[in-house]
Each structure stands twice: as structure tokens, then as C-alpha cells.
């Protein structure tokens, strides 16, 4: 997978975030503060501009610019978390023109660890980790399998009681709602298939 692939991936994510913006915000209205869709849309719009302003030359360039821009523009919980995800992916794939699926899978494993460390969240805490962790497991098999795992993981957050982030303030009232961050994470993994 070359630079163009990663650019397409980010483009698809940007487009889908824009399309799902209100849906993500609605999910966040139920158990958060009604801004997750707006946050990501603002972030990826800035990413789009950053990538257009200075066309990246390597896959790592795409990923690092994406991560740094998200950190600089999103704010909220998801900004540093998604920012760290993409920056770690960038750092892991290294300064090469092409990345294999195995290499990307390894980079995702490192990114998962970084995000879990930053947010000190575990699987089952009803966060984006619940979509990311199962996807990382399947990434070596295929993007299709990873996407399915992420979507299943996101859906499986519904019955959970949140233990991290804003939703945790709700206690038992967080039960019965799908986590917005897990939902957007599944969207991102799923976008790999369309890239």
C-alpha cells in the first residue's frame, strides 16, 4: 500500500465522517455532550486542508500529518486519542514508500497500545478501544475481517456500562446506547476496505 492508498483512506474517512456527522453527534447526545460528530468533522476537514496544502510523500507522512492535525484541531477526548492513533501508525510504518498489510497490522497493534496507555482504558470500558482492539486482532487476516470485527465491537458497546470518558458519569444510564467513539472507530477501520 503506497502513499496514494493512505491518502484515499483518509479521504474516505473524511467523507464518511461528514456524512455521519449528525449520527455521531446524536450518539454523543445520548451519553455525552453532543459534539463527537462536530469534533471529528472539524478535525478531518483540517486534515484534508493540511494534506492538500503540503502533499505528503510517504505513507508515514500521511499518517503523521493526520495525527498531528487531529491533535491540533479536534480537542475533546477524541482529539488526543485519534491523534495519537494516527501518529503512532505513522511512526510505526517508518520512512518507506510502501507498507504491507502485515506491517500495517503491526503498526495498528502499537497504535492500540498507545491509545490504551494514553486514555488508560481497557476493552469493555465502552470506548473506541472496543472497536479498535478486535479489529487489530483481525487485521492480519484481512481488512474485511477487521472491519467486521470493529463493527461488531462497536455494536457490542450498547449493553455496556461506561467506565471511561464522559459517558462514565452516567453510571447505569450509559447502558443501552452505542458508544460514539467506538462507532467512529469502526467507520475508520471499515474505510480501509474502500481505500
Amino acid at each position: 500500500m503506497d502513499t496514494a492508498f493512505f491518502l484515499r483512506w483518509i479521504a474516505v474517512v473524511t467523507e464518511r465522517v461528514r456524512a455521519d456527522r449528525d449520527h455521531l453527534t446524536d450518539l454523543d447526545r445520548a451519553i455525552g455532550d453532543a459534539d463527537h460528530g462536530a469534533n471529528l468533522d472539524r478535525g478531518f476537514t483540517a486534515v484534508e486542508e493540511a494534506l492538500a496544502a503540503k502533499p505528503p510523500e510517504t505513507p508515514a507522512d500521511v499518517l503523521t500529518t493526520t495525527g498531528t492535525t487531529l491533535i491540533r484541531k479536534v480537542g475533546g477526548a477524541s482529539g488526543p486519542l485519534y491523534g495519537t492513533l494516527f501518529r503512532t501508525l505513522g511512526r510505526s510504518v517508518g520512512d518507506v514508500p510502501e507498507v504491507s498489510r502485515e506491517e500495517l497490522a503491526e503498526a495498528f497493534a502499537q497504535a492500540l497500545a498507545a491509545v490504551m496507555k494514553l486514555g488508560s482504558a481497557q476493552e469493555g470500558d465502552k470506548t473506541m478501544i472496543d472497536a479498535l482492539a478486535p479489529a487489530v486482532q483481525e487485521m492480519r487476516t484481512s481488512f474485511d475481517a477487521a472491519a467486521r470485527a470493529a463493527l461488531d465491537g462497536a455494536r457490542a458497546t450498547t449493553p455496556l456500562r461506561a467506565r471511561k470518558g464522559r459517558a462514565s458519569y452516567l453510571g447505569d444510564r450509559s447502558i443501552g446506547h452505542q458508544d460514539p467513539g467506538a462507532t467512529s472507530m469502526a467507520l475508520m477501520i471499515d474505510a480501509l476496505r474502500a481505500a
Partner: protein, 330 residues
Amino acid sequence: MKKLINAVGDVVPDTLRGMAAAHPSLRVDVENRIVLRASGPTSGKVGLVSGGGSGHEPLHAGFVGFGMLDAACPGEVFTSPVPDQMIEATKAVDGGAGVLHIVKNYTGDVLNFEMAAELCADEGARVLSVLVDDDVAVRDSTYTAGRRGTGATVFVEKMAGALAEQGAPLEAVAAMARTVDDRSRSFGVAFSAGTVPAAGKPTFDLGPAEIELGIGIHGEPGRSRERFREARELVRLAMDALNTDLPFSGDVLVMVNGMGATPLMELYVAYGEVDAYLREKGATATRCLVGNYVTSLDMAGFSITTCLLDAELTSLWDHPVETPGLRWGR
């Protein structure tokens, strides 16, 4: 949604432009979203930086000025600011005595301030952080993100700000901020949800006789939905929650805070009940604020924040302050 705004996307810069025009004592960088004292950093004084989502005005930008903050970093509505803002603000207020970050305990605020502090430290700045986490509606345990930072932020910013103004070193200012947080507790009640401009509708809907107990300041629902009650009962409910967590005694600083759409008249009604409650417990409200200090857009409702005072805290509270949102003694 009828809001006194221009475009939904311009709310924060338009607010900052208005603040800049209204308050010559502030230097407002609208583009980078940083609010500083116009007088610049005070040499030898610890710099105080806070920040958080917008929509809580006067918090934080309204508390920039003599005796309180040196800088505020306003994020998007209800969204933590980004590290760039905090880094710029930290540089701008460093008068050589180091900088204190006052961070409300929300995952977003914590993560973004953490990243900023690390980057500042990398560049050689001396930065300490204190977390404000006063909201007793949230159980502080490994199963939550910990207590939220709400009303006590005003107390922390005021008293740590006074100590910094008096020339105390960074460690002492940070310790004082922690002391104030340790002695402070909050509880909030919503009668209706506010509307985030970008979302266009209220963050939750309540029936005509329903209220949310134990709300935060970001429009998130509270811990439980209950039936509406009269002021006396609502205050008792809130005060019981505070008293259970940290029993009242001695001199107490009280803030009865409106969430944005509650008339001052009603806040005074509530304050009367708070005062009576404290008397009952043998404590005394010796200092107070009644008004809108930590709001949640146009949410109707109120929160009560208390802080157990001693002589030192009282004198820090009384120390002159000159900010758009809080002013006395000069």
C-alpha cells in the same frame, strides 16, 4: 434554535471578538483562541493558565486578570481546547517563576493539557498541573473517569491566583490549588438542557415535571431523572450530598451558581435555603457568590459549590481581584 449568534461555526471567535472589544484589560488572540492579561506576564510571578470548552462563560476567559488567571484557552463549545493553545498561553504568561495549569477533570481536558505540559517541559518550561474534581454526583473510583471539575474551578482560580499574585513559588501555588480543590464540593441540578449551537437541539429533553440530578456542565444528563420539587427540597438534596461527602463545619464559602437560564431571583431563593441548611449543621456561610459563574449555555438549573474555609483561605478569597467576571478591592 434561536440563538444570538451569527454563523454556528463562528460562535467562539465572535465571542472572543466581543470580549476583546468589551475588556481593554484583556489581550485576546482571536485566531489562536488565547485570552491574556493586556499587561503581559508579571515578572517573577507564577503564571496561571486554565481552559476548557466554551459555553461556560464567564469561566474561564472572564477570570483572566489581576488576582486570578494569566491566560485562558477557550475550546469549541463544550469541547476541550487543543494543546497548541495551551502551549502558546504557557509561553506567553511565563514570568520566570513557572506556570500552573488548572485543569478540570474531564478526559478531554486532561489529555490535551497533559500533551501540552509535556511539550512545554520538553522546551524547558517549568509547568505543574492541578486537577479540579469537585462534583460529588460522580463516584470517584476506578470505574469512572473520576469526579468532574465544575464550580470549584472558580474557587481554585481565585485563591491560587491570589497566592500567585502575592509572589508565592510554583509549588506553593500548586499546593494551594490542591487544598482548595480538596476542601470543595459541588452538586448540580438541571430543569432543562442547553442547546449546543452546532447540534441545534437540546442535549436532552425533560418533561414538564422532570429534573436531572447530578448534572455536569456540558449538557450531559445527570445520574438520575426525578420529579420536580420546591427549592427547599432541591437545596436540601444537594446539600445532603455535599455534607455526606465532606461534612460542613466552621466557615464555608458558598457559590449558588446559575447554569445560564435561571433568574437571579431564584438563585437568591436557593441561597436563602443554603444559608439555613448550614446554620442547621452548625456551620456558617461567611463568604458567597450568587449568580452565573460556571454556566452550561442556556441550561436552566443551578449548582451549589462549597469550600471549607480557614483563615488563610478566607484572606486569599478576600484578596483584591480585577477580572471581567469577578472584581473587588480595586
